[in-house]
């Protein structure tokens, strides 16, 4: 029994608004420090994840997960010798 897009938006608008505010406040906290972020790589990962949220592709949750994931090497058994 899937909900309609209208129902999802109506039920989850405020929750999502609150989550976005948390992210915005996080960036404000980081911005208080003129020397910049201690880990540019982590900051770039977060920025890339934010870009996924607003692009026109689907499977956003899975794509964000993969962005934060180590790569899989199909030859791993040869590498380990097992």
């Amino acid at each position: 029994m899937p909900r309609t897009a209208t129902e999802i938006l109506s039920q989850e608008f405020l929750l999502t608004r609150a989550k976005i505010l948390e992210v915005a406040a996080f960036y404000d906290r980081l911005g208080q420090f003129p020397d910049g972020a201690p880990s540019p790589q982590q900051l770039e990962l977060l920025s890339a994840a934010c870009r996924i949220l607003t692009d026109d592709q689907s499977d956003k949750a899975a794509r964000v997960q993969l962005l934060f994931s180590r790569e899989f090497n199909p030859q791993w058994r040869d590498e380990f010798g097992i």
């Binding site: 029994m1 949750a61 899975a62 993969l66 899989f72 097992i82």
Partner: protein, 270 residues
């Protein structure tokens, strides 16, 4: 609604939690062996832990009408110690005939190392030798995708594995597809911050359907909520899912999966 929590570490919870679970509708739990928060030093530490899992916890659960089942192994984190792991694996058969043992678990990977992989394969050998079901832990956060693919790689290269008797746990959006497509059961762990929320679990149920899919709390000594499954039930109801569909995920599916073990003798509530 009556439900089963297929993955919860009750040794880490208070007796009050058993009472709360019972009041929320929990009728059975399955408790995989896991990391105690520190590395144990001897095989006898594990022998005592397995006594706790097969003797003490079933009695504690029974006080509240909850049926307690368990899985035995040395977890992936301690599998870095290969010699100790081999001693534990050699000792596990002492406990396989205990009445609440469902199989070998939660085996898996943690940091996806050679030692962890070696011990994973030796656990699989043990399970095959004793015809045991398998419950699998997949790694956390950035290691999950790589580790899950490695685990599937090892399992799918072994023709002796009966995939319908294996559950791959802690799946998330990027790992659930490969697990289900390969024919294994998948477990979604409702665990704050590092795993999955009830809302995201509901999304995955809607996307993949209820076939071979379960949800659990993995309640343990870390930040976790032992009553997370009622939260999922509430979320699915809020979205308008019929009661029978919800019950399939939180009650019927665990029964179907566990009933493949000769030790599973679940008695429904009268």
């Amino acid at each position: 609604m009556d439900y089963v929590d297929p993955h919860i570490h009750m040794v880490s919870r208070t007796t009050d939690d058993y009472e709360t679970l019972a009041k929320m509708g929990c009728v059975a739990v399955s408790e995989p062996a896991f990391w105690a928060g520190f590395d144990r030093g001897t095989v006898d530490s594990f022998r005592d832990y397995f006594r706790q899992l097969t003797d003490t916890e079933p009695k504690r659960a029974a006080q509240y009408g909850i049926q307690h089942y368990t899985w035995l192994c040395i977890n992936a984190k301690e599998a870095e110690n290969v010699s100790l792991s081999r001693e534990v694996i050699a000792m596990i058969p002492e406990f396989l005939d205990k009445p609440n043992v469902l199989g070998i678990g939660e085996i898996g990977l943690n940091k996806n190392t050679k030692n962890e992989s070696t011990i994973f394969l030796e656990h699989v050998e043990l399970a095959v030798k004793y015809q045991q079901q398998i419950l699998i832990h997949t790694p956390h956060l950035e290691d999950k995708y790589q580790g899950t693919r490695m685990i599937l790689d090892m399992l799918c290269h072994d023709s002796r594995i009966e995939r319908q008797r294996v559950m791959v746990d802690h799946v998330e959006e990027h790992t659930i597809g490969p697990v289900l497509e390969a024919g294994f059961w998948a477990g979604m762990t409702l665990y704050p911050i590092t795993k999955c929320t009830p809302q995201r679990a509901a999304d995955m149920i809607e996307k993949y359907g209820p076939e071979r899919l379960m949800a659990n709390s993995a309640g343990d000594w870390g930040p976790s909520k032992p009553t997370a499954i009622p939260d999922l039930i509430f979320e699915l109801r809020r979205r308008g899912h019929p009661e029978a569909a919800i019950r399939r995920v939180v009650y019927d599916n665990p029964q179907q999966f566990f009933s493949q073990s000769k030790s599973y003798h679940f008695a429904p509530r009268a």
